[in-house]
């Protein structure tokens, strides 16, 4: 009497829990899917909007002025464009970003020392934006610059990262007219 009953019980305990555990696994995984969805919604909500992360575009090009206005070996600040217009010894132009590549402080130009010195962590850069003194890891960024009819123009919307100074970055006045 007892033997078949036991066997019957065994089969029951094997079958029903497996169906039950399947359902509970299903529920739990559905719960996880819902949780992931909610996290996704929150994350998407908090991401910066496209408009905020704009990179230049139309209207970012600035007329900086006639090329002759800037003496050689001079640095002129353009606050609205957040850059310095540097004219090198050989007459070439470079639009150097004012933002320190170390941690983003604004670097002032020291005319006396002939270098940019960051007030935050004492990094120093020369007139071409090259690192003279660490901790800054790379040269100051530059902006796209070109000269049209002897007028210097800078695209203040397009900041270009560079590891160091390169002669190709310098723009010269074309001797045509």
């Amino acid at each position: 009497m007892s033997k078949p009953k036991k066997r019957h019980n065994m089969s029951e305990t094997e079958q029903i829990p497996s169906r039950r555990s399947f359902l509970s696994i299903l529920w739990i995984s559905l719960g996880f899917v819902a949780l992931i969805e909610f996290i996704g919604i929150v994350a998407a909500f908090l991401l910066p909007r496209k408009k905020m992360v704009k990179t230049g575009g139309f209207g970012a090009i600035m007329d900086v002025g006639p090329a002759d206005k800037f003496p050689k070996e001079s640095v002129t600040a353009f606050i609205r464009g957040k850059f310095y217009l540097c004219r090198l010894e050989d007459g070439g132009f470079l639009a150097v970003s004012r933002k320190c590549t170390h941690l983003g402080c604004t670097v002032p130009w020291s005319d006396k020392e002939k270098r940019f010195v960051c007030p935050c962590h004492a990094s120093a850069f020369d007139i071409r934006g090259e690192v003279i003194s660490p901790p800054a890891p790379r040269a100051l960024d530059v902006y796209h610059l070109y000269i049209e009819n002897n007028i210097v123009k800078v695209d203040a919307g397009k900041r270009i990262k560079r590891s160091g100074f390169n002669i190709d970055q310098v723009v010269y006045v074309k001797k045509t007219s």
């Binding site: 908090l46 941690l103 402080c105 604004t106 007030p119 935050c120 962590h121 660490p134 901790p135 890891p137």
Partner: protein
């Protein structure tokens, strides 16, 4: 017996009934048994255990630091709530609203002072509390996870300070936050993305202020409350604090216990009142400054981080940012979190500095750290540029990997030396390493606060 606590309705008046429905128990408990009951039935007090081991009441065990931190947090909630009525979280209005707070609102400057000084004290007190817990070995089981919660609370306090720092939108605020969020850029792979998310764009602006305001006034307070409750509850579940003992004494299995009310609570109230009085005095006599309105075109010289970040800032002067911002902090955080989970030779709970030998090793470690750090700073200040110039190696190696490897070798060597020279237990050796890093950090912080002048060059503070 029962009718004493719950008087029958017909025996009392209507208002008495209402009163009893709010306060079912006698307001002033008279016997020890009543006091225990009272503690358990009171919503706020029931976070505390009904009784505590008598020896843990000793002031020189805790220095009242945990309680002080809790009091300061409550003061922050109170004053923060008031400030919220005046403050306007937009770049155009934030600065003027703080000016109005200082000049037009009655007690405005005082409330701001309290909020500011409490925030600063909180960092200090929580830090000291962490040291106390470490040096009395109060992280051994069953308190392991509470150490982690405590680290979380410390992180929250620092985040609260940093997010609050931006809100006045003066020069100090703007540049400190520029530098802090600038650090995120050096986290590999996700750094730039993370920076955009936290700043709400490429630069600090209206979105940054909204995000910081939301964190400062909603997210952090909520998480802080939850974690604090968890922290207190875990302390209670661990059977109270570690019982102080001398190195020779064994851990007591059945300590003498006294009722929390009045023995512990009375002491806590005294500490709280003294602390509040101190905060008030400081806030009356020392006004918090407000710099010029934020100007993105001009970084003040020198731009200094708030004092609790002066150590990391000093590290940034010497090391490549990848190491100063990412590698070293990551290693330190993992090491701190790992402290309770290491395998120790002995359980040193309740013994200051683990043992008699531990005290001597602590002193030696501190001296080694002070000498080595001072030498490092001076050598780096006057010789480093020469080295870089001579070899022309890329900065990430010359300024990052090589010094980092030297530091790492120095620390490992120190650990091995202590272990062999003094045949120390690993409790003592781990403690020695902790003290070494602690004092390096302290020296960096002190240098950053007082010995850096214009251009971040070494100067004298006087």
């Amino acid at each position: 017996m029962k009718s004493e606590h719950h008087p029958s309705p017909e025996a009392t008046g209507f208002f008495h009934q209402i009163f009893r429905s709010i306060f079912p128990d006698p307001l002033i408990p008279k016997s020890d048994q009543e006091r225990r009951r009272y503690l358990l039935k009171n919503l706020i007090l029931h976070f505390r255990p009904p009784t505590v081991p008598e020896k843990t009441l000793k002031f020189s065990l805790t220095w009242g630091l945990g309680g002080m931190a809790a009091v300061l947090v409550l003061l922050q909630f109170g004053t923060g709530l008031l400030l919220k009525f005046v403050y306007v979280p937009t770049p155009l209005d934030a600065y003027t609203s703080i000016l109005a707070l200082n000049n037009e609102v009655m007690f405005g400057q005082l409330i701001r002072n309290i909020h500011h000084w409490c925030a600063n004290f909180l960092v200090l007190i929580v830090f000291l509390h962490m040291l106390r817990v470490f040096f009395t070995g109060a992280f051994h089981p069953p308190r392991q996870f509470n150490w982690i919660i405590g680290l979380g609370l410390f992180g929250l306090v620092l985040t609260a300070n940093l997010t609050g720092y931006l809100l006045p939108y003066d020069q100090l605020a703007y540049w400190a936050v520029t530098v802090s969020t600038g650090m995120l850029e050096y986290i590999p792979f996700i750094g730039n993305r993370l920076q955009d998310i936290i700043q709400g764009g490429h630069e600090i602006g209206p979105a940054t202020l909204s995000i910081f305001f939301a964190f400062h006034t909603a997210v952090i307070p909520l998480v802080l409350i939850a974690l604090m409750a968890f922290h207190f509850w875990r302390t209670r579940k661990a059977g109270g604090l570690v019982i102080p003992r001398t190195p020779e004494e064994e851990i007591e299995e059945k300590p003498v216990r006294v009722t929390t009310l009045p023995h512990l609570l009375l002491r806590e109230v005294v500490v709280a009142l003294v602390l509040i009085a101190f905060v008030m005095v400081v806030s009356v006599f020392f006004d918090v400054s407000l710099g010029g309105s934020a100007n993105p075109g001009l970084s003040p010289n020198p731009t200094k981080a708030p004092w609790y970040f002066a150590g990391p800032q000093e590290l940034l002067l010497h090391l490549h940012p990848l190491f100063a911002v990412f590698v070293i902090p990551l290693i330190l955080i993992i090491a701190l979190m790992g402290i309770p989970y290491l395998k120790y030779d002995t359980n040193t709970e309740g013994v200051w500095f683990a043992s008699v030998k531990g005290r001597r090793i602590t002193l030696i470690s501190a001296i080694v750290a002070i000498v080595a750090t001072l030498m490092g700073i001076v050598v780096n200040e006057y010789l480093f540029d020469v080295v870089i110039g001579l070899h022309g190696v890329p900065p990430i190696i010359g300024n990052g990997l090589i010094p980092f490897a030297l530091i790492f070798l120095g620390c490992s060597g120190f650990y091995i030396l202590i272990k062999h020279r003094y045949s120390a237990t690993n409790n003592e050796a781990v403690q020695a390493l902790f003290v070494l890093i602690l004092f390096v950090f302290l020296i960096l912080t002190i240098t950053g606060i007082w010995f850096r002048g214009p251009g971040m060059k070494l100067t004298w503070p006087f």
